[in-house]
């Protein structure tokens, strides 16, 4: 069981696009598209995870965490790699529910920060 960290103590950078850069092979259009898709889809998933937590819909919490896991891994958001797996498993098994709130808070905070960062980068590229 992991105690939640605060944003201030999180390692920087929040994310690492090395893998995405490697895959894109220098294709800037693809990089922009990837960031745009993130901005378009992740906030909705975060809302789903929050509302399903509020209604104690643990299977949806688990499924949403599962969905975010691949994105977190691909973007190497190191601060969330362990927590997202913990949330997925705890929601599935309905264990450590007392930690769920703070864990989800951290996830939402970090992912929102990444979203904002991408928005800025996309705006700057225009």
């Amino acid at each position: 069981m992991t105690a939640p960290s605060t944003l201030a103590t999180l390692p920087q950078p929040l994310y690492d696009l090395t893998m995405i850069h490697k895959m894109s092979r220098g294709n800037e259009a693809f990089l922009r598209r990837t960031k745009q898709l993130f901005v378009d889809t992740v906030p909705q998933t975060l809302q789903e995870i929050q509302s399903s937590f509020d209604t104690a819909d643990w299977s949806t919490v688990s499924a949403s965490a599962h969905k975010l896991k691949a994105t977190i891994d691909a973007l190497r958001i190191e601060s969330l790699k362990t927590i997202i797996r913990q949330v997925e498993q705890d929601a599935k098994e309905q264990t450590n529910l007392h930690l769920m709130g703070s864990n989800l808070e951290l996830i939402v905070a970090v992912m929102s920060q990444v979203t904002d960062s991408f928005k800025e980068e996309l705006a700057a590229a225009v």
Binding site: M23, R33, T34, F38, A63, K67, K69, A70, D73, E88
Partner: protein, 454 residues
């Protein structure tokens, strides 16, 4: 491969991740990729028969295992790569048993691993297509009409019987003079039967030394005899699920006949030196130039084995009884030989045709082929004349024996080889005709002084 485009479906409810996979795979211009975010949409599109499909195991609308099952039912040739966030060995093994090609854990290396897996699938698909084409070619090559050329009533009756034989697993016994095409018929039956994708194994019983034949057919265990360094599978095991062709079955030793009878009755074998019974599922075709009924009367062939082997008897008519087929075959061989050797058109003159029709062809089709091919070589222009047709190829060889100086050893080799060629590599028969020891011939074969076709 039928065309260069390789169709891939991506089924993943995660829009962002599936986009990533799609982009990565699309870097290969030969890949045509479609994304689906719901199982029902993907299943509805399976009629497009994708070559490969990446399946996210944790879909919201359907369990991944269930989706895999439906994909394999609807599109069995589609190779499915399951991508899952769960590193669960039991699930992976279960999915692989259910037909998944591969199971990849979702992490940052997934796109690269998926790329490699798709490449392997593509290579395998290409190999499968090549095998399919080769099998089709073999099937065409051994189409009855391509194997036995002729229009005579005797041949038409033979085709009808071969067709019946090909449709069942009945044992087939082929009789006929040397050179009538017994092995061709056996092959044609196999490659037109339901067993055509399984092994075809031919054994010339007469060409194998008696002391080795049991081990050759039934295999042996390690240490069964001096020199048996390891277990060896015999021809019956090699032919499992397929067809075994036993040529010159009349040469089987009486003690070995009992073992063969057991294979036919119990469908099992025991390796030399072994205690365990090995089941075999083999379709048996036998051939002999001997009259087996006569051999039974003489006591050299078991009566129970004779009746077991009888099955569907096919008698290949000698060439002299096939009337006009002689000219049909001659034309076929002439065209084939001329084409193979880059020669111009060749045609038989009417005198040459008459000469062919008047000959008895004791060597049957094999002899006819040799005669007309020599005639093609000897003729200088388009017409093959009567004097190009030489039935004394043997006596030419005799003249050759006399005119070319050589050692006695070489003379002996040439004579024995000549008899082996003439009598279908039947060592026992040749030794008998030349009044020499069989072991002498076998030794010369082993020392590669003589050539036999197995």
């Amino acid at each position: 491969m039928k065309n260069t485009t390789f169709k891939i479906f991506i089924l993943d409810d995660d829009i962002w991740y599936s986009d990533l996979l799609e982009y990565h795979l699309s870097l290969n211009p030969d890949y045509e990729i479609r994304k689906f975010h719901a199982a029902k949409d993907c299943l509805a599109a399976l009629h497009e028969r994708p070559d490969a499909l990446t399946l996210d195991y944790s879909l919201p609308d359907k369990n991944g295992s269930e989706v895999l099952k439906q994909i394999k039912e609807q599109s069995p040739d589609t190779q499915v790569v399951v991508i899952s966030g769960q590193e669960d060995v039991a699930t992976a093994v279960d999915l692989l048993k259910k037909g998944a090609y591969d199971y990849i854990v979702k992490d940052e290396d997934t796109p690269e691993r998926l790329w490699n897996t798709i490449q392997k699938i593509r290579e395998n698909a290409s190999l499968r297509e090549e095998i399919k084409q080769l099998r089709e070619e073999i099937g065409q090559k051994y189409d009855f009409g391509n194997v036995i050329i002729g229009n005579s009533e005797a041949i038409k009756r033979l085709f009808a019987m071969m067709d019946k034989a090909a449709k069942t697993n009945i044992t087939v016994s082929i009789t006929g003079e040397t050179g009538t095409g017994k092995e061709l018929v056996a092959k044609a039956i196999h490659y037109n039967s339901p067993r055509k994708k399984q092994p075809y194994v031919a054994v010339n019983v007469a060409a194998i030394p008696k002391e080795l034949i049991e081990s050759e057919l039934f295999g042996h265990e390690k240490g069964a005899f001096t020199g048996a360094m390891a277990r060896r599978l015999g021809k019956f095991e090699e032919a499992n699920k397929g067809t075994i062709f036993l040529d010159e079955i009349g040469e089987f030793d009486i003690s070995l006949q009992a073992k063969l009878l057991r294979v036919l009755q119990e469908k099992e074998i025991a390796r030399v030196g072994g205690n365990s019974i090995v089941p075999v599922d083999v379709r048996i075709i036998v051939a002999t130039h001997k009259n087996l009924a006569e051999e039974v009367r003489k006591g050299t062939f078991r009566e129970d084995l004779y009746y077991r082997l009888l099955g569907l008897p096919l008698n290949l008519p000698p060439l002299r009884e096939r009337g006009g087929d002689i000219l049909v075959l001659a034309k076929h061989f002439i065209e084939g030989f001329a084409k193979e050797n880059g020669l111009g058109r060749k045609k038989l003159s009417s005198e040459a045709q008459e000469k062919l029709l008047s000959y008895s062809f004791p060597g049957n089709v094999r002899e006819l082929k040799a005669v007309v091919e020599l005639a093609v070589v000897l003729s200088d222009d388009e017409a093959i004349q009567e004097y190009h047709i030489n039935f004394q190829a043997n006596s030419n060889s005799d003249k050759d024996f006399l005119t070319r100086e050589r050692s006695l050893k070489d003379y002996n080799k040439d004579i024995i080889q000549h008899y082996l060629d003439k009598y279908d590599y039947n060592v026992i028969l040749v030794a008998d005709k030349l009044d020499i020891g069989k072991s002498t011939v076998y030794r010369m074969i082993q020392n590669k002084e003589l050539y036999v076709k197995m």
